[in-house]
């Protein structure tokens, strides 16, 4: 309401911004897409590519439900502008299983009942896959700290930690 015009000088868009052409490899499949520059990776995945496993929880980088793997590293797709990631490899929850064989983390989440409503689960699992690849977590304390970017409103945390421990063991501590 108070906003001085100078603070919003950026609004005067005269020409229509140009779309950006990018190629992403998403769950092993190369996709070339023309997108508006303001498209987040999360919106691209969900609205354009129908990959609705990645969830929009807060859309502000505070909950972790949108976590995906980008070139093998866990990132928040809601704060990622897709235009900046031309050439990247993206893995979402839909890309973790090999055919009908669940990823060890997916199996471990089932074994340990590591969710209730399930809304945060795709982000939890992608984040845990990143955590295991990083190879930094040695103890329960480490897992808790390095998974703190993924909020679970149902409070399934003890079972999530147990599931990640199981998957870490199944995957030999590393990927």
């Amino acid at each position: 309401m108070n906003s001085a015009p100078s603070a919003h000088a950026g609004l005067q868009t005269t020409a229509k911004p140009k779309p950006v052409s990018i190629t992403l490899t998403i769950n092993g499949e190369a996709r070339t897409l023309d997108i508006a520059p303001w498209t987040t990776l999360l919106d691209l995945l969900r609205d354009r590519l129908d990959l609705t496993g990645s969830k929009k929880g807060c859309d502000h980088g505070q909950c972790g439900a949108c976590t995906v793997l980008l070139d093998g590293r866990r990132v928040l797709s809601c704060l990622t502008l897709a235009a900046m990631k031309d050439g990247a490899e993206i893995t979402t929850i839909e890309g973790l299983a090999k055919g009908d064989t669940l990823h060890p983390l997916q199996q471990a989440f089932i074994d340990h009942d590591a969710f209730q409503c399930g809304y945060c689960t795709p982000g939890q699992i992608c984040s845990a896959a990143g955590l295991i690849a990083e190879g930094r977590a040695k103890t329960k304390d480490d897992i808790r700290e390095l998974m703190s970017g993924n909020i679970c409103r149902c409070g399934a945390y003890p079972n999530i930690v147990a599931a990640i421990e199981q998957a870490m063991e199944a995957m030999g501590g590393k990927r």
Partner: protein, 338 residues
Amino acid sequence: MNNFDYIRASDIADAVRMKAADPAAKFIAGGTNLVDLMKYEVERPARLIDISRLPLRSVEETDDGGVRIGALVPNSDLAYHPLIERSYPLLSSAILGGASAQLRNMASTGGNLLQRTRCLYFYDVATPCNKRAPGSGCGAIAGLNRINAILGTSEACIATHPSDMCVALAALDATVHVAGPAGARSIAFVDFHRLPGETPEIDNNLRSDEIITAIELPPQGFATHYSYLKIRDRLSYAFALVSVAAALELENGHIRVARLALGGVAHKPWRDVAVEALLRGEAPSRDLFGAAADALLKDAKGFAHNKFKIGLARRAIIRTLTQAANATPQVQSIKKVR
């Protein structure tokens, strides 16, 4: 988010040229703060200049035995870099105390310096904020100010700088290297961020046409006697109410060099060299650390909801200096404070 134009810079000169041609454009690297602010319409740039592909991703030893960190090194890569873990563990610890693993994978070193305050009124465009809309007033002074500053405030602004990494960089006497149309220059870290004064809309002394290229650390890394203690409303993934970076060099049981920097208490990482001088030559003790804390906080001023920070900061300073002196640094994954 507003519609905007997107261009990609291929090298530093290219980035500087693009910015000179459109001063209202914003650089984007990790984007973790800027994209969020754009979603809240606090920032509405007509053009983004993508600098994420510039060749600024190396961590290299300098000739004098220090280290030069490229501005685009992700926070996680920096925290886990063998050279940083070994020689500058205070920096590793502070980085790992901040944000979440996902955000640390995205956020750049240079961008960490440039993140904006988390003051509630800066984020809420329906309220006054001199930092967001100069001249509109400060919503925090008579509003909800639990997270706001107690040191170096002005009548225009009581915002804090939210970084953990920067608190360690201040303690370690880092240097910021920047480039602009007039060439390259360097800025001492303690002079990089500003106090709010009458112009809280200006966070730091980087000129609007400049870009950060690197952060340099001097050889002395305080790898034995250091600690970073962060106090916040939950045990992880929250901004600091108060944080303390302490680094000591001890000789024959006496303090030869002391460094002390605080986060969460001011518009910039707070260092007070007079307090560090007070520690020099003395043997570590609770009384000494208490006296140092009292000296550092003598001009602290609380507001309706954050007066507790003064006592909290005093205790955190004593605890962190004790941890540093005992070579028992706070481990970020262990929540018990010893």
